[in-house]
């Protein structure tokens, strides 16, 4: 029987479904619970999408308008939050 090798140490494990899955420690503040719920359900209103973008922008020390502008110009930080923010901006109507 195949036994996966031991995985990373010092990794945060979070409950998901029937098990716990690893994620790297995040650098963002926790999202409001109602926004977390909406993300978990996979459906955001336009206002919630803007709120999520604003929170990711805040983690990059940017405000919403500046972050959207930089995302459209490809000038966001290249870390995973910047990458994610760029993809979320693609969901916004022009």
């Amino acid at each position: 029987m195949f036994t996966p090798k031991r995985k990373c140490k010092n990794v945060l494990f979070v409950a998901r479904g029937n098990g716990r899955v690893p994620v790297r420690t995040q650098t963002m503040s926790p999202l409001p619970q109602d926004l977390q719920n909406a993300v978990q359900q996979g459906r955001l209103t336009e206002a919630q999408l803007r709120e999520l973008i604003a929170l990711e922008a805040k983690a990059l020390d940017l405000d919403y308008a500046e972050a959207v502008k930089r995302a459209r110009e490809g000038r966001l930080p290249k870390n995973h939050i910047g990458a994610d923010l760029e993809l979320l901006v693609d969901l916004l109507a022009a």
Binding site: V21, P22, L44, L87
Partner: protein, 190 residues
């Protein structure tokens, strides 16, 4: 297995569930979360998230710990049969060594690029010897063609030495790659 659905949500859930199944049997049990903006464009985004915030999946490699970020924005077009078919609008796949400020490598795609560079390209925090000089890879858009999630996962296992999560990881990635190329994104429809 064409990835279609009666609604965008149905098609995107199929895509998410397929990728999460592949991920869980190859590289990481960390799951992709789908986000659709209701009442906006017929688009959704997939990414690793925890508590709603984007996160990287931690990988153990022969070079140490690495964070894997996979993100994709897709849209749907409705065919004559009324079914939604998915197309990729943009993707970002990054690998970031533990402690690094930015990714070592980034595979990116933009359907409508912000400049005249290659839509599918590779960049990263690497110094590339170029003749008598050295060029930061972040200053170039190295052409790649469409990079699939499966190819990135294969790279993590084969080249970075990440421990596969099942014995038949090779067949799983091969099959999923074929499904993507043949059914999800027939040539010319990316």
């Amino acid at each position: 297995m064409p990835i279609t659905g009666r609604t965008l949500a149905e098609a995107s859930a199929k895509f998410r569930d397929h990728l999460n199944d592949v991920l869980a049997r190859t590289v990481t049990p960390t799951r992709l979360i789908m986000v659709e903006a209701v009442g906006s464009l017929s688009r959704f985004q997939l990414a690793f998230r925890q508590g709603g915030a984007p996160v990287e999946a931690p990988l153990s490699t022969r070079f140490g710990r690495v964070g894997l970020y996979l993100g994709q924005t897709c849209e749907s077009t409705v065919g004559d049969d009324g079914l939604h078919r998915l197309r990729t609008v943009s993707y970002r796949y990054t690998l970031t060594p533990d402690g690094a400020r930015e990714p070592l490598v980034r595979w990116e795609y933009e359907k409508k690029p912000k400049g005249p560079y290659c839509r599918h390209h590779l960049q990263g925090d690497l110094a590339l010897p170029f003749g008598r000089t050295t060029v930061p890879l972040n200053d170039l858009h190295l052409p790649t063609g469409f990079t699939t999630v499966e190819e990135v996962l294969r790279f993590c296992i084969v080249d970075l030495g990440g421990p596969p999560l099942s014995e038949n990881w090779d067949a799983i990635l091969t099959r999923s790659y074929e499904l993507f190329k043949e059914d999800f994104a027939p040539r010319g429809q990316l």
